[in-house]
Symmetry: C2
């Protein structure tokens, strides 16, 4: 009689993601993941090719959720308000998923594997197109995302150690960037 399936790829990814966020990358063992889903470690290899494949699946999951949360943040009709909402959503997501968020941009043994997990948000490009005009959409979007990502990464890494108000620095930076958008208006 065939043995029943006792776990699934989705369960493994969910458990792995949770453990990864909770304990960090070094402490994530296949044994722990197996225990969390109720099987022994060798059984995981029926669903995932390797530990690094599991990381890839986890980060794809995180990237999809981030993209969805960005897209959901837009829709007010006002591009400036949308952009503020999206950057706030982006930062909130990173704060809620600090380890996995940072890992999405970490160097990997397989070059390009990291990149594949980072998706663009259609809503972001649409809003930036309204603010910056069609010719500048791509560089303007890259400027905004670079600033937001860089700010958040440094914040999460504890790189802001000269005192001062980090919230104020976030608002200052966002205002600066909004101010130079060709089709800007202050919110």
């Amino acid at each position: 009689m065939p043995a029943h399936a006792q776990t699934s790829t989705a369960a493994i990814v969910a458990a792995g993601r949770h453990l990864l966020e909770e304990r960090g990358a070094d402490a994530l063992t296949m044994q722990d993941v197996a225990e969390a889903v109720g099987v022994r470690a060798p059984s995981l290899y029926k669903r995932v090719r390797s530990r690094s494949d599991l990381f890839r699946l986890i980060l794809e999951d995180v990237a999809d959720e981030l993209t969805a949360s960005l897209d959901a943040a837009a829709g007010s009709g006002d591009p400036v308000a949308d952009l503020r909402a999206m950057t706030a959503a982006y930062r909130g997501f990173a704060h809620s998923n600090p380890v996995t968020y940072t890992l999405m941009f970490a160097p990997d043994s397989v070059p390009g594997a990291t990149a594949r997990s980072v998706r663009s948000s259609a809503a972001l490009l649409r809003v930036v197109a309204e603010l910056a005009g069609p010719q500048h959409t791509l560089p303007a979007a890259r400027t905004i995302v670079a600033w937001a990502h860089g700010f958040i990464t440094m914040e999460l890494a504890g790189a802001f150690r000269l005192g001062g108000d980090v919230e104020q620095a976030w608002d200052f930076g966002l205002d600066q960037i909004l101010a130079v958008m060709p089709g800007r208006s202050r919110a």
Copy 2:
């Protein structure tokens, strides 16, 4: 008769840094480092506490070099030219040290250990103070560094995959940020 010292902490850090940059974090083994400096793995533990301690020493070394290269890039007398030179030096350094640069901001098992390796540049703060005024120095410097770091990280992670000219996006972003500095002037 005492055995002569056959290696040093500096040699271990240099060899480790080179291997780390060349092969990536996962592939850096204590055996490889030991072989590179001409001893056996157990001897490394006379100089470094652990593998993660070696990582810390390597990233401190990288951070010090980055800070020095930023400070060296300033000095033209013109704050805008200085800032352009410093951001170019920053990006050039990251391109020359992609793995270790990115690792400086990676999440660590020991919270705060990462942050300690990222230093501020006195020259950068001085130049930004001239451009943004004393009240806005800190948030303005954070905006610039966040943008530059974010841009470079995404670039290194291969996150810019929608085509377009990445160099142009860099120049666009820098111009945007310079344009809103309170004491700005276009170079």
